[in-house]
């Protein structure tokens, strides 16, 4: 049984200073507190700078005595994050979890992981190889992935929202739909029209 009282507190606590910390958590699926969606900004002075990364958070029944399950939704080029499915290799999400850690601290750890990769303990062997053998190419690829996948959703979001609102859809719904489809304007339009 998830300790929902604690989750509620964590959400309030995390979102209070999200502009400073660069991490925020939102409910992913209505009122379901065991399925959340985290968002972290790419750390400054890293190839991920300027990007906004979405993370899927699922709380197991034993939370906070068991670690939350986290996975990148946004595609990332990083030695410790799978380029295929976004799986994360981070000790505190596995055997080094502690109930004193929170979703916020876990997200901050992910942010720290982005700025200091551990290629010796990789999740994605291809990325790790590249990181070790050809660092400039790695940086180039990581930056390209950030520009392509992590910025598309945020840069120009306002323009997309405005465009769709002008088409006659309510703003709240537009934002929500854009969020769900990952910022793709056409997909959002399709979804708004059908549903």
């Amino acid at each position: 049984m998830v300790d929902y009282a604690r989750v509620q507190k964590e959400l309030v606590e995390c979102n209070r200073d999200k502009d400073i910390s660069g991490v925020s958590i939102e409910l992913d699926n209505g009122d379901d507190l065991s399925h959340l969606s985290g968002r972290i900004t790419g750390p400054i002075a890293s190839p991920y700078e300027g990007g906004i990364f979405q993370i899927d958070i699922r709380l197991p029944g034993g939370y906070p005595f068991e670690p939350p399950k986290m996975q990148f939704i946004t595609k990332v080029w990083h030695p410790n994050i799978s380029s295929q499915n976004g799986a994360i290799c981070l000790d505190i999400l596995k055997d080094q979890w502690s109930p004193a850690l929170t979703l916020k601290t876990a997200l901050l750890s992910l942010q720290a992981l982005l700025s200091s990769p551990e290629p010796d303990d990789p999740q994605d062997a291809v990325v790790a190889q590249q990181y070790l053998r050809d660092y400039p190419t790695f940086v180039g690829t990581a930056r390209y992935w950030t520009d392509t996948f992590a910025k598309r959703a945020s840069v120009g979001t306002e323009e997309k929202v405005q465009k769709l609102v002008e088409m006659g859809f309510p703003e709240v719904l537009v934002r929500k739909t854009l969020d769900i489809v990952g910022g793709d304007e056409n997909l959002a339009l399709e979804k708004l029209c059908t549903g």
Binding site: R6, D95, A100
Partner: protein, 361 residues
Amino acid sequence: MSNRVLCKFFVHGACLKGDNCEFSHDWKDQTNNICTFYQRGVCSYGSRCRYEHVKASRPQTTISSSSTISVRPKASNPVEVTSPRAFVAGEANSISSLPAELSALSRPFFPPAWKQDSIDHNLQDDDIVGEVTNVDPADRPICSFAAAGECPRGERCPHIHGDLCPTCGKHCLHPYRPDERDEHIITCERKKKQLDALKYSQEIECSVCLDRVLSKPTAAERKFGLLSECDHPFCISCIRNWRSNSPTSGMDINSALRACPICRKLSYFVIPSVIWYANQEEKQEIVNNYKAKLSSIDCRYFDFGNGSCPFGTSCFYKHAYRDGRLEEVALRHLGAEDGNTVIAKDIRFVALQFFNIDAVL
């Protein structure tokens, strides 16, 4: 044993008069449980009165000698039972023909404190002519009205009005009894410390559930779980939950689960406590009290020698056989470098892999 009546303030631990109380501070004595209103005629509480509605000095009967009753077995009705003293009093006043009930009525059950004092006072005045007109102030009991706030008798009060205790703010320090004074100050300060600790503890949050430990809904949850090796606060249920987490969840029991969730320092046991400590001495006191309490309880794994306890000689519980003999501590002899044998006494049983000492509770 005196035939004095047990002080009812003393029973509640609140008698301010100490050794000078006119009532008995001996637990063997009986309390005066007789309703004085009923004695005088009417008690407005009627059957709901918490005091006994009998018209005889029954407590004195039971105190003076139980043989009185056994000698006269027919006196089964308490109303008829009279004390020998009442008889003596009756005879002296040559009213022995009167029913004992009446003689008990005519005689005040116990003179009020202030009356008694004034009697003593007069007696002393008669005996010691030319001496100070006052009783030795140290013999005068402290006024409980003044101690509690205000004395309606003011200056004319025959009792002594105590000095203000700086800790509790009551006028309950006897000006002429230094021992009593010191005792009060010590107990008062101890109580204050406890209160302060409790107040301070109210604010402490558990780092796992993020709730204030002492604001938890049930009384069982309103307890801290102290870790032996560090000072991070948790509520007892959270820390026990974490430490008893199933090893299947991928966490290593010795490095992760035995460690403090915050600083990851290993602690081998958790101490339940209703207050949080302010310094290491207080913590040590809590730990010692806890260990002392456990060592008086028979270990159910040891089972008076029939079972075997995984904690061995490090077990906090009592390992005693049925005849009261304690389990022998097997000392380990280690060869020291200089060839002498060293006895390793204090062996910590660290390999408590799957046993949580809390779970034994």
